[in-house]
């Protein structure tokens, strides 16, 4: 039986990483919850955000916490344009058309990154990256603590936006009743684009934080797309709190599986959790029954 300090260290690490995972999945969940399109290029888009943070660090020495602002703004614009220019025409088309479209976008993005940056792993080396806080025998990785803090802040801001702003309420109206929203005069497609932009900005924040935790390569995208799907399905597709909860659950359960079973079985455990959720609560832990 592992010592309690070891379990605590592993759980804390899983929890902090899970919050960043949650923010990443939140973008996917928001987009699906409103636009009803599943973004199969989600991980690939986050990889671009990670590269953007690396470039800003290399060119201007910008800490990823500062780089969040320009990268999120650029991603908002990118998401908005992607929705208006490419995805809106597919809104009323069959789901397999949307699927193929976004898989094609994902492939283009991965290969574009390969052409631009090559296959090499890249990262940022900020001062605090190798430091940790110690409370007795429990260690808190500084970069992970900061990244998790940013994930919680960004998630709270997004929740507040949807709950308290007029635009947020209008977006929720579009999500709840497409026809009703159109009848009362809302420009639904514009709100869809805004939502895609917000989801992308959310993803950009997650990418800037993730670069503090892992090195980026072009091939990282598909793995994160898959991870985001696992998280939102566990938490409930379309549910914002569900995405965060799913992220934390996956982060902690992977860490515990690594500790108690075998480190190389971590992914197997999260997929096992996914199967259980699909069997016993197909709508996800916080999802609504359709």
């Amino acid at each position: 039986m592992p010592a309690i300090e070891l379990v605590a260290n592993v759980v804390i690490s899983g929890l902090l990483t899970g919050l960043v995972y949650g923010l990443m999945a939140l973008g996917l969940s928001v987009i699906f919850g409103v636009v009803r399109v599943v973004n199969f290029a989600h991980g690939e888009m986050m990889t671009i955000a990670m590269y953007a943070a690396v470039m800003l660090y290399a060119a201007f020495g910008l800490d990823p916490f500062i780089a969040v602002v320009p990268v999120a703004a650029a991603f908002f614009a990118f998401g908005y344009l992607l929705q208006t220019g490419l995805i809106n025409p597919f809104i009323t088309r069959p789901e397999h058309s949307q699927f193929i479209l976004l898989v094609a976008v994902a492939i283009v993005l991965v290969n574009g990154l390969l052409l631009a940056f090559g296959p090499d792993a890249r990262n940022v080396q900020v001062d605090y990256q190798l430091e940790s806080y110690a409370i007795g025998p429990i260690l808190f990785d500084k970069a992970r603590v900061f990244a998790a803090g940013m994930a919680v802040t960004a998630s709270a801001a997004l929740f507040a936006f949807f709950r308290f702003t007029r635009t947020g309420k209008a977006i929720r109206a579009c999500a709840d009743n497409y026809l009703g929203a159109k009848v009362v005069g809302l420009n639904v497609k514009r709100y869809y684009a805004l939502t895609f932009g917000l989801g992308s900005a959310c993803l950009a924040v997650a990418g800037c934080m993730m670069i503090l935790l892992v090195d980026v390569t072009p091939s990282l995208g598909p793995a994160y797309t898959l991870l985001a799907f696992v998280i939102v399905i566990v938490g409930g597709l379309g549910s914002m709190p569900g995405a965060l909860l799913g992220g934390v659950l996956i982060g902690v359960s992977e860490a515990l599986a690594g500790l108690f079973i075998a480190p190389s079985a971590k992914s197997m455990f999260s997929f096992g959790l996914l199967i259980l959720v699909l069997l016993f609560r197909p709508q996800g832990l916080l999802g609504r029954k359709s």
Binding site: D141, L220, L259
Partner: protein, 408 residues
Amino acid sequence: MNRRQFNKTVAAAGVATALAPFGIVRAQGAKLKVGVLLPRSGFQGFIGQSCQKGADLAPGVIKEMLGVDIELMNADTETNVDTARTRAERLIQEGAHVLVGPFDSGAAAAIAQVAEQRGVPFVINIAAAPQITEQGYKFVFRNFQTAPDIVRNGLALIGDLFRATSTVARTAVFMHVNDTFGQAMAKGIGAFMGRLTELPFKIVDTISYDPAAKDLTVEVSKAKASNPDFLLLVCRLNDAIILRREMVKQRWQPMGIVSPGSPGMYEEQYFKALGKLSEYSISNVPWYNPRAELTKVVEKAFLKQNPKDKLVYHGLNAGFTFESILIAADAFKRAKSTDPKALADAIRQTNITSKMMLGAPIKFNAKGQVEGIGSACLQNLNLVPTVVLPASAATAKPVFPMPGYKKA
């Protein structure tokens, strides 16, 4: 076909048959097409590119040495076994006379099947899983130590290290990548630890991890919790970097990090990514002989092709890749033919005494395996992988236990 066309065809066939014995002369005038399969992208991309440097300088050096023209046909296995198999198929279809590569046991096993089915010689540069040369293949050759050899030599060098530094480490945690190579090495260590009674330490925990892992927090936490004297590590490159950083984050400072024979910690990227944190890591690996004549020639060619780089950062990768092409070229020269069977027969008769890598001359046994390849104990000192053992080849003294990273 009319009568005249038929007669022409028969005449042409007759001429071709008559000239067949001289085919070897024509072939000798031709180039040897060498299909080079390496993981130039994916998580082994850095190592694949490092191997590629050895391949790129081979045609020039070998032309000078043997007067043989070589055309390289490069293919990226993308660190993927299935891709390695399909790329090997394609290279053969495109006319490769011999295959070389692929720096990975899983990929090597897949390519070996293709080479054997298609009857094209395959010279493995780097791949250690012993089963590859235990299949009775006729076209597969390996100029690299098998995992048991690497482990035996690597563990013996750990004993030498303790003696040279008058240090006794009693416990170790063994961490290894969970791939074909890592598992073969783990089996080897399991088998040899009991037999090598002069080793004073025991393994208190064994932790395997995904070679494509992006985060090794749990693994390092587990290893640290065992409180071992040192870390025995079988790694690749990216995971070695992640692991070293995680050790610092978790404030774990064992006596040392010692690889009994794996890539990663002597690679250029390890130094670039980690800077001073790369210091004092130890790798007991097959390495080149810095005093060999051929090494000097290769080093010169390497510098010419890579003015901002040094051979020492690519010693194992570039050295064995170069030697594998040298083996093919030497066989081609003796066979005087690109016929695959003749080439395979000639490779079987190889006896290269003027070589670059440490150890006995390059000679293949009945299984297609070179025996007697030597290992060196490399320690990262002043950001350079430096031979510290055996004493006969050493250029510096080993430092063990390693100073804490803050003092490094």
